[in-house]
């Protein structure tokens, strides 16, 4: 009998460890959800200053802004998770024609390390034509169904654009920008990033890149004229444009002029590849 107990002891230990780790993986997060509704006019400029946040922003037909803020903290120690949940703050301020949403992390003076996994998610609906200004660092952003003017300043972000016909100016560092651009005039300044865009009848697109890889799907390259310069990096084009591609030392370029009435795609970048599909 004793022998049997000794034989199965390791098995029990392994089983207990497995149960312990399984339990650790399924800790329920401590959450706090806030919903705010902010009335606005078509002139209202909405600014978002996000930090380490996932921002999901969509345009809608209503004439007010709706902000849902999801804060969550995950830790084996629920008390610690609850305490650290309080490190996450947000503020909404309204002033004449400007509304500002800001999230910040504020730690007590003695604390220099956070032990819980903290997450901030901002789900925002704004009138589709209103002007938007957004900044985010170390986060993800999704912009959908917008038609106004948009100014963005992002670093270490993934920006996803869907069903989007706004006029845009985005300054991006170490960020990835993906999606579909419809109509509008778009200017993207990108450093050390990657841009993968599909164009659907845009008025003009300008990308000023440094060490930024660029892929553009034009759905019929004849719809645009191109001014592309790439130093220390190649330009990959549909076969019919290959004859127009020029190389001068370490710089590739493509300039086409089928007519000034055609939308211009202007790209400058370096060290990475530009691909036109």
């Amino acid at each position: 009998m004793k022998n049997h107990i000794f034989r199965f002891t390791p098995l029990f230990v392994v089983l207990l460890l497995h149960l312990y780790t399984t339990k650790a993986q399924t800790y329920q997060p401590v959450t706090n959800t806030i919903t705010e509704v902010i009335p606005c006019t078509p002139e209202t400029i909405f600014s978002i200053h996000a930090e380490k946040a996932v921002v999901l922003l969509s345009g809608w037909k209503n004439n007010y802004i709706q902000v849902q803020i999801y804060l969550s903290a995950v830790n084996a120690d629920k008390k610690l998770a609850m305490r650290e949940l309080n490190y996450m703050h947000y503020a909404i301020t309204k002033e004449k024609n400007a509304v500002e949403l800001r999230n910040i992390f504020t730690l007590p003076p003695a604390i220099d390390k956070i032990y819980s996994k903290l997450e901030v998610k901002l789900v925002i609906m704004i009138p589709e034509k209103n002007t938007l200004m957004i900044t985010n660092q170390y986060g993800d952003i999704q912009l959908k169904g917008l038609t106004g003017n948009i100014k963005g300043n992002i670093s270490f972000c993934n920006l996803q654009i869907e069903d989007y016909a706004a006029n845009t100016r985005i300054d991006a560092t170490y960020s990835e920008i993906k999606g579909v651009l419809k109509k509008g005039t778009h200017v993207i300044n990108s450093k050390s990033g990657n841009i993968d865009l599909e164009l659907q009848h845009v008025n003009a697109l300008t990308i000023n890149g440094i060490r930024t890889g660029i892929q553009i799907d034009t759905h019929g390259v004849n719809d645009y004229r191109y001014q592309i310069n790439n130093s220390n990096g190649n330009i990959i084009l549909p076969p019919k444009y290959n004859e127009l591609k020029k190389k001068d030392k370490n710089r590739y370029s493509l300039i086409t002029q089928p007519g000034t009435s055609v939308s211009l795609v202007q790209i400058n970048t370096s060290f990475e590849t530009v691909t036109i599909k």
Partner: protein, 161 residues
């Protein structure tokens, strides 16, 4: 002696000697002239070669120190040996540039060096964030992006050096 023998042999052939060719005395006179000139020409050539060799050896002797130093330096630091690890590579480039200032002063190199310094700062900021927030997925992704760029810049520097 050989001349004598040749002269005799030639004299024996004089009867059958063709009329349109110069007379044997004339030919011997020319041969004699050539013999006097040749040793003089050789002496000149040998003299010039010796002088050139001398100049070359004196020049080599006067600047041996610099050449030796360059050889030693190149043995210690070769751009091709820049380590794969970014941290070590940056230290290596700094050391290399201290010893090869002219190579590291071109505008292109300075631009790359500036970019490299920026990545060092950015990486420090991300590391501080990681220390604060722990192993956060978004921060780990940010760190990888900076490291990727840092590697690309180091690769460019490697090509220049």
């Amino acid at each position: 002696m050989i001349d004598e023998a040749l002269r005799k042999s030639a004299a024996s052939q004089e009867k059958s000697y063709p009329n349109h060719i110069l007379s044997p005395d004339h030919i011997w006179e020319r041969i004699g002239n050539n013999r006097q000139k040749k040793p003089v020409m050789y002496r000149y050539i040998i003299g010039i070669a010796a002088s050139l060799l001398m100049i070359f050896f004196i020049a080599w002797w006067c600047i041996p120190g610099n050449d030796n130093e360059t050889v030693v330096q190149n043995k210690v630091l070769l751009p091709a040996q820049i380590p794969d690890n970014n941290k070590e590579a940056i230290a290596y480039i700094s050391k290399y540039c201290l010893e090869h200032k002219s190579l590291c002063s071109s505008p292109t190199f300075n631009e790359l060096r500036k970019e490299l310094d920026e990545t060092i700062k950015e990486l420090t900021t991300v590391q501080q964030q990681l220390h604060l927030f722990g192993h956060d997925e978004l921060l780990l992704r940010a760190r990888e992006r900076v490291k990727y760029q840092q590697s690309a810049i180091i690769h460019s520097i490697k090509q220049i050096l």
